[in-house]
Amino acid sequence: MKKLIMLLLVALAALGAAAAAQTATSRSEATTLTIYSGREERLVKPLFEQFTKQTGIELQVRYGSSSEMAATILEEGRNSRADVFFSQEAGLLGFVAREGLLKVLPASTLARVPARFRAPGKRWVGTSGRARVIAYNTSELTRAQVPKTIWELTKPQWKGKIGLPPTNASFQAFVAVMRITSGEDRTRDWLLGLKANDVRFYGNNTQVVQAVGRGEVQLGLVNHYYLHNIRVQTPTIPVENAFLGKGDPGALVNCAGVGIVSSTKNSAAAQRFVDFLLSPFAQRFIARGPGAAEYPLVRGVRPRPGLPPLGEIKGPEINLGRLGRDLPPAIRLLNEVGYTR
C-alpha cells in the first residue's frame, strides 16, 4: 500500500515535470496573443472566442483580479509576458501606464470613445462604462425612500443599513473623484460619518448586492451592472438600482478599459484585439449579452433597455485618465479613516 503511494507520487512528479516541459515548448509556436484579463472569465470568454473566430489569432488568457494582474505586470516589468492588459478599472490602467509599461495607442482608436473615457497620455482606452448607483432592497424600501444623494447616507435613519466594498477599485475611484470635486475635508467628514453610522464593509460589489438582497443591509454603494450579473443566477433577488441625481459625486460613471503592454512583440495583433473590443459586435455583447448590462462607449450602440441613457447621468465630469494620479491620495485618505484595514 505504502509502496504503491510512493510509486504513485514519483510517477505524478514525473508527469508534472513532463507537463512543465510541454507548456514550455508549446508557448513559442503559432502567433498567439497573451491577454492578462482582470475581467471575469464567465463574462468575457465568449467574446474572446469570437475574436479568434474572426481573426484566426489564438488567445492565451490569464484571468485574475484586475489589481493582481496589474501588480503582476508591474513586477514583470520589461520582461512582461502580457501583450494586452484588459482591466475592470481605469485607475489600474493609469497605474501601469505611469510606470511606462503601456504603449501609446493610435488616434483613430482613441477617437472612437468620448474624451473622458480615454487616457490623456493616450496609453489606454475605455471599453465600457459603469455607473455608480445605490442598490436597494425592494422588500424593505420603495424607490422614493432611497436617498437622492450620497450626502444623506450619514443621517441616523440609515444607521447599520448601508453596505459598501471599501477595497474595491471602483469604490476607491469614486472616493478619488469625490475628493477632487468636493474637497478632502468634506470627503473625510462623509467617510467618518458613514463609519459612525455603522456602515458594513464587504469584499467586493457582488457581495454587497447579495447582502442587500438578503436584507443584511438595505442600501449598497456599487456599480450598476452587478445586479444584472446576479440576476442570471438569482432572477428573483429583491434588489433594484437607484441612479443618483445631477452633479452628485455618487453618480460617477467609471469605465473598464484596455491597454497594450510596452514589451509586446505582437503589436499588430494586440492592436487588432483593442479595435475588436471597440467594434459594434463587442460593444453590443458587453452592453446586452447574457447577464451583461454595461454602457457601450462607442457611438451607435444602444445600452440594455431599462437603463437610463449615459447622457442622462449627470455625474462629475472628470477625465478618468486623472485617476492614475488622483487615486493614491484617495487611498491614503481611506487608510487614514480606517476603511482599508
Binding site: L9, L12, A13, A19, A24, T34, R42, R200, N335, T340
Partner: protein, 530 residues
C-alpha cells in the same frame, strides 16, 4: 538525551538542506528588496498606531485559534485513540475530513448557514427569530479557522498518543494515580513536542490566511497586505507589513522551539511498542460520543450539506451542474508533484537536525518554518519578480508553480518528518552500525523506513494544502491550467455559488482518500517497525 559525537560534518547533507532552506527564503529576499525601496510616504502609509493595532488583532486571533484547536484536537484525539468511544473508527475519519475544506469555502458556508439571513435563520423564521448573533468579526473568523485547522492537531495528537510509552503510564497508574492525573502528569508531557508542532502549523496557517478573515471582515496583518496590493497603493508598504508578519512568525517558531526542547522523546524499552489498553468512559461514553458527533456535524456535515444545497438549488433553476474533471486532474497532478518535491526538500533538513544536532543545524531547521507565514500573494509576486527576470522558460510553467507550493507548504512536511525522526530510537541506529552497516546504508535501511509514516503523512498534508491553494496558483499557473481552487474562485467572484458548489464538492471528493490514508491507524503508528 542527544548524542554528541565527533562525526565528520556531512557536506552533502548540509548542501542539500541549505539549498532547500535558501529556496524557501526567496520570497523573503523579495520582501526585503521591496521594503528597502519604501520611501517616507510608504512608511507613513503603514503607520505605527494602526500597525500596532493590526498586530494585536492578529495575535489575538492566532492565540484564540491555537488554544481552541489544541484543546479540541487533543480531547478528540484522546477519545478516539485511547477510550472506548463508540464508532471511533468512523469518527476518526469524519473528524479528519474537514482538513480538505479550504478556509474560504468554510467561511462562505458558515456565513451561508449561520450568518445573517442564512439557512439557519430562514429555518427559524417561523418561530419568530429574526436576528441571530452576529457571525462577522472575531467570532466568525475564530470559528472558520478552527474548522479548517483543528484536524492538524487532531491528526498529530492522535499519532503521538498512539506512540506514547505505555509502560510509563502503567507504572504511574500502579503507583496509585487516577486516570486524569496520569493523563496530565505522564501522557500530556510526553506528547507535548507533538502538540507544539501541531500548534505551530496552526499558528502559521492563521497568520497567512486571507480567505476566512476577509469573508468574516476581521482585520489581520495578512488581510492588510492583501488590501495594500488590492488597492495598489504601494507594493513597498505591503512588503513592510509582510515583513512584520514574518517577524511575528519568527516569534511563534521560537516559542515552539522552547517547548520542543523540553519533554520526553523516545520509548524506554522494546516493550513500549505495545498497544495501550482503552480506558472505559463508563457513563460518560455516550456524552463523549455526542460531543464528537457534534463537532463532526458542525465541521463536516454542515459544510457538505450547504454545498449540496447550493448545488441542488443551482440545478433546479439553471442547467444541470457540471463537474470540472479536467480541473480535478490538473489539481491532482500539481498537488502530487508538490507533495513529492516537498518530501525530497525536507528530508535533508530534518535528517541534518536530527542526526547532527548543533546550533547551526537546528537554526537551519527553525528558519525553514518562518517563510510559511508570508501571505500567498507575496510569495506569488516574489516568484513573478524573480521568474520573469531570471526564470526564462520556467516562468509561468508548472515547475515554477510547484516550486511555489513547496515554498509555501514546506513546514507541514518538515513538522511531521521531524516528529517521526524524533521517535526513532537512536539505539537501533547504533545497533545497525555496530553490526557493520555503513552510515549511509543505515540511514536508508533503518532510519528512513522507521520514519516513513511521518514522511508520508507530510506528503499527504502538502498534497491537501496544495489542492486548496489559490493566490499563487492564480498568478503563476500556466495559462489554461485550471485547478479546482481557481474554478471555485472563478464562480464565487461573480457570486455564482451554485456553480461553485460542485467544484467544491469535487475538491473534497478527490482529497478524501488522502485524508483517509492519513487517519488510517497504520500510517500514524510512528516509529513502529512493520
Amino acid at each position: 538525551m542527544r548524542r554528541k559525537r565527533g562525526r565528520r560534518p556531512p557536506l552533502l547533507l548540509w548542501a542539500l538542506a541549505s539549498a532547500a532552506v535558501g529556496a524557501a527564503l526567496l520570497p523573503l529576499g523579495y520582501l526585503v528588496l521591496r521594503g528597502l525601496g519604501a520611501d517616507d510616504e510608504a512608511r507613513a502609509a503603514v503607520g505605527v498606531r494602526p500597525t500596532a493595532e493590526l498586530v494585536l488583532d492578529t495575535v489575538f486571533l492566532v492565540t484564540g485559534v491555537v488554544a481552541l484547536t489544541l484543546v479540541l484536537g487533543t480531547v478528540l484525539a484522546w477519545l478516539v485513540v485511547r477510550s472506548d468511544l463508540p464508532m471511533r473508527r468512523l469518527l476518526g475519519v469524519a473528524l479528519t475530513l474537514p482538513l480538505v475544506i479550504p478556509s474560504y469555502v468554510g467561511a462562505l458556508v458558515l456565513l451561508g448557514a449561520l450568518g445573517p439571513k442564512g439557512l439557519l435563520q430562514q429555518a427559524l423564521e417561523p418561530l419568530g427569530v429574526d436576528r441571530l448573533p452576529d457571525l462577522y468579526g472575531y467570532e466568525g473568523a475564530l470559528l472558520a479557522l478552527t474548522l479548517s485547522t483543528y484536524p492538524y492537531v487532531f491528526l498529530i495528537a492522535a499519532s503521538a498518543l498512539r506512540s506514547v510509552d505505555v509502560s510509563t503510564e502503567e507504572a504511574a497508574r500502579s503507583l496509585g494515580r487516577g486516570p486524569l492525573r496520569v493523563f496530565l502528569t505522564v501522557t500530556l508531557p510526553a506528547v507535548r513536542p507533538a502538540l507544539g508542532a501541531a500548534g505551530l502549523l496552526v499558528a502559521l496557517y492563521v497568520l497567512a490566511d486571507f480567505g476566512a478573515v476577509s469573508l468574516m471582515q476581521y482585520p489581520t496583518l495578512t488581510r492588510a497586505v492583501y488590501l495594500q496590493y488590492e488597492s495598489l497603493l504601494d507594493r513597498n508598504a505591503a512588503a513592510i507589513l509582510a515583513l512584520i508578519l514574518v517577524a511575528l512568525a519568527a516569534v511563534v517558531v521560537w516559542l515552539e522551539g522552547r517547548i520542543r526542547n523540553r519533554g520526553v522523546r523516545y520509548r524506554s524499552s522494546p516493550g513500549a511498542g505495545r498497544r495501550a489498553s482503552r480506558i472505559p468512559l463508563g457513563r460518560w461514553r455516550w456524552a463523549a460520543f455526542t460531543g464528537c458527533a457534534t463537532v463532526a456535524l458542525l465541521f463536516l456535515a454542515l459544510p457538505l450539506g450547504v454545498l449540496g444545497w447550493w448545488a441542488a438549488e443551482g440545478t433546479a433553476t439553471g442547467p444541470p451542474f457540471r463537474l470540472a474533471w479536467s480541473a480535478a486532474i490538473d489539481s491532482t497532478v500539481a498537488s502530487a508533484a508538490a507533495a513529492g518535491c516537498a518530501v525530497v526538500a525536507v528530508v535533508p533538513i530534518a535528517l541534518l537536525a536530527w542526526r547532527h544536532p548543533s546550533r547551526p543545524s537546528r537554526l537551519l531547521e527553525r528558519i525553514a518554518y518562518v517563510p510559511n507565514a508570508v501571505p500567498g500573494i507575496a510569495v506569488a509576486l516574489s516568484l513573478v519578480f524573480f521568474g520573469a527576470r531570471y526564470g526564462g522558460f520556467l516562468y509561468q510553467s508548472l515547475s515554477l508553480l510547484v516550486f511555489a507550493y513547496v515554498v509555501r507548504f514546506l513546514p507541514q512536511a518538515l513538522a511531521t518528518t521531524r516528529s517521526a525522526l524524533d521517535l526513532v530510537d537512536p539505539r537501533l541506529e547504533d545497533a545497525s552500525r555496530s553490526l557493520g552497516r555503513s552510515s549511509r546504508r543505515t540511514l536508508l535501511r533503518v532510519v528512513l523506513p522507521l520514519a516513513r509514516p511521518g514522511v508520508l503523512a507530510g506528503a499527504a498534508l502538502v498534497f491537501l494544502s496544495t489542492m486548496k491553494e489559490l493566490p499563487a496558483t492564480l498568478l503563476l499557473r500556466p495559462i489554461g491550467f485550471d485547478t479546482l481552487a481557481t474554478e471555485i474562485w472563478t464562480d464565487t467572484s461573480i457570486g455564482a455559488y451554485a456553480d461553485a458548489a460542485p467544484s467544491a464538492l469535487l475538491l473534497i471528493l478527490v482529497s478524501a482518500p488522502f485524508v483517509y490514508a492519513l487517519s488510517a491507524r497504520r500510517a500514524w503508528e510512528l516509529g513502529i517497525p512493520d
